[in-house]
């Protein structure tokens, strides 16, 4: 899905935990995430802290969309 959407020339960032799969499906912008059942969450944190963490990750993803790249890039 990532690759086909990007084929239209729209930058796309893949947020996923198993980044080897992200690469094998052809994602160019990759943000590694926390865990498979809660990629952008962490139930072991207090809810405010979890939100802060999620915000940092999503911001990183948005920033990745505004970053020129020429090859597969992990934004960590």
């Amino acid at each position: 899905m990532v690759k086909e959407i990007e084929r239209y020339g729209i930058p796309i960032v893949h947020m996923a935990t198993i980044t080897t799969i992200s690469e094998s499906v052809g994602a160019n912008r990759i943000v590694p995430t926390v865990a498979i059942p809660h990629p952008v969450g962490n139930p072991s944190l207090k809810s405010e802290d979890e939100k802060i963490m999620r915000k940092a990750m999503v911001k990183r993803a948005v920033d990745a969309l505004a970053t020129e790249i020429s090859e597969v890039t992990h934004f960590e």
Partner: protein, 350 residues
């Protein structure tokens, strides 16, 4: 049997009969018994090999703690010193396939022990290990176990006995990208001319040198000004409105859905939940934004960090979904996003 060759077996929590998604977080364990497919496997070794134990690890644990898991498993393999290592088969299970592939590669490359595993041709783990392991081509689901195990056992038997392994076609494994010198009756020029004639006649012919297919999409240009950009949110994590109105399948998705989220601040419970059948849904059902973070995108919009969040949220289920369907979904969704003038997309996966 004591003189036979030794096989060590790897399975996930499910095939290791520990449990389903609720146990996917278990650490790797060694059992000296034969468990799950390992049990039937030994019977297929013609009495000449024995399975000396089963390593079981949760799919989530392995993928989330790859280095630690690999180190632990490699140490176990070193201790047991099998003649052949067997993993899976993983069919089309993504996390299990990646685990089998990473372990297979490490055992083959670092310990120099021959490895047999089994996967469906679209398994995302395949490319990691097919050059160093014998990967038997399986069906996409566990219904193919009865066909996969004998093929895997046959290769393991030959490896254990030091016999030569035949071609991928003969043995049922996925081509490893190696070339082997063989003697054929007709010389090359003759074969090439025969192929050419067939081609000119429009008949079917089989190339002796299939070219690899590379389909790489270049990175799209970056967004120039985020504060004016419209960002769309998309997920393969199966987040849907409560009741799953479009009945998106919980696995092997045949369709995707889009839902108007322009009036929402978050994808909160109980209005949304996950229909994905491939991971433990507890955390996503508590707070669906943990999978598809609409809450944060809306905050960033309010703060003016991004211009807008696209009014529709796109979703499907990414477990067991065929590559052909995923391509179709991506093409359809991308077309809509392009026409809507969306500037960038966040796609989350579980």
């Amino acid at each position: 049997m004591s003189d036979g060759f030794k096989v060590l077996y790897y399975v996930n929590q499910f095939f290791g009969q520990i449990g389903g998604e609720d146990k996917a977080g278990m650490k790797p364990e060694f059992h000296s018994e034969k468990i799950g497919p390992a049990l039937g496997f030994e019977q297929l070794l013609k009495g000449e090999g024995q399975v000396v134990g089963t390593i079981i690890c949760g799919d989530n644990y392995f993928n989330e703690n790859k280095e630690e898991s690999l180190e632990y498993i490699l140490n176990l393999v070193k201790q047991e010193a099998p003649d052949v290592f067997v993993a899976g088969p993983a069919f089309n299970a993504g996390r299990y396939g990646v685990a089998c592939a990473e372990i297979s590669r490490a055992v083959a490359e670092e310990l120099n022990i021959p490895v047999v595993t089994g996967m469906y041709i679209e398994n995302p783990g395949l490319d990691t290990c097919k050059q160093v392991a014998y990967v038997v081509s399986t069906s996409d689901n566990a219904g193919g176990m009865r066909k996969a195990l004998p093929a895997m056992a046959n290769i393991a038997y030959k490896l254990g006995k030091g016999l030569e392994i035949g071609s991928p076609e003969e043995e049922g494994y996925i081509a490893r990208g190696m070339r082997k010198t063989i003697i054929v009756e007709k010389r090359g020029s003759l074969r090439a001319v025969e192929m050419l004639i067939k081609r000119l006649k429009g008949e079917e012919f089989e190339t002796e040198m299939p070219m690899p297919v590379f389909d790489v999409v270049e990175p799209a240009l970056a967004i120039k000004d985020l504060s004016k950009a419209t960002i769309a949110l998309c997920t393969s994590g199966g987040i849907v409105p409560a009741g799953n109105p479009d009945r998106i399948q919980s696995a092997s998705a045949q369709k995707w859905g889009k839902y108007d989220v322009s009036g929402r601040d978050a994808l909160n419970a109980p209005d949304f939940y996950t229909t994905h059948g491939g991971y433990d849904p507890v955390y996503a059902n508590e707070i669906p934004d943990r999978v598809a973070p609409l809450d944060i995108l809306k905050e960033l919009q309010k703060e003016g960090y991004i211009g807008n969040v696209y009014e529709f949220f796109y979703t499907t289920t990414g477990t067991g979904t065929s590559v052909s369907n995923a391509v179709k979904f991506g093409t359809e969704i991308g077309k809509e996003l392009k026409e809507a003038g969306v500037d960038g997309v966040i796609l989350t996966s579980t």
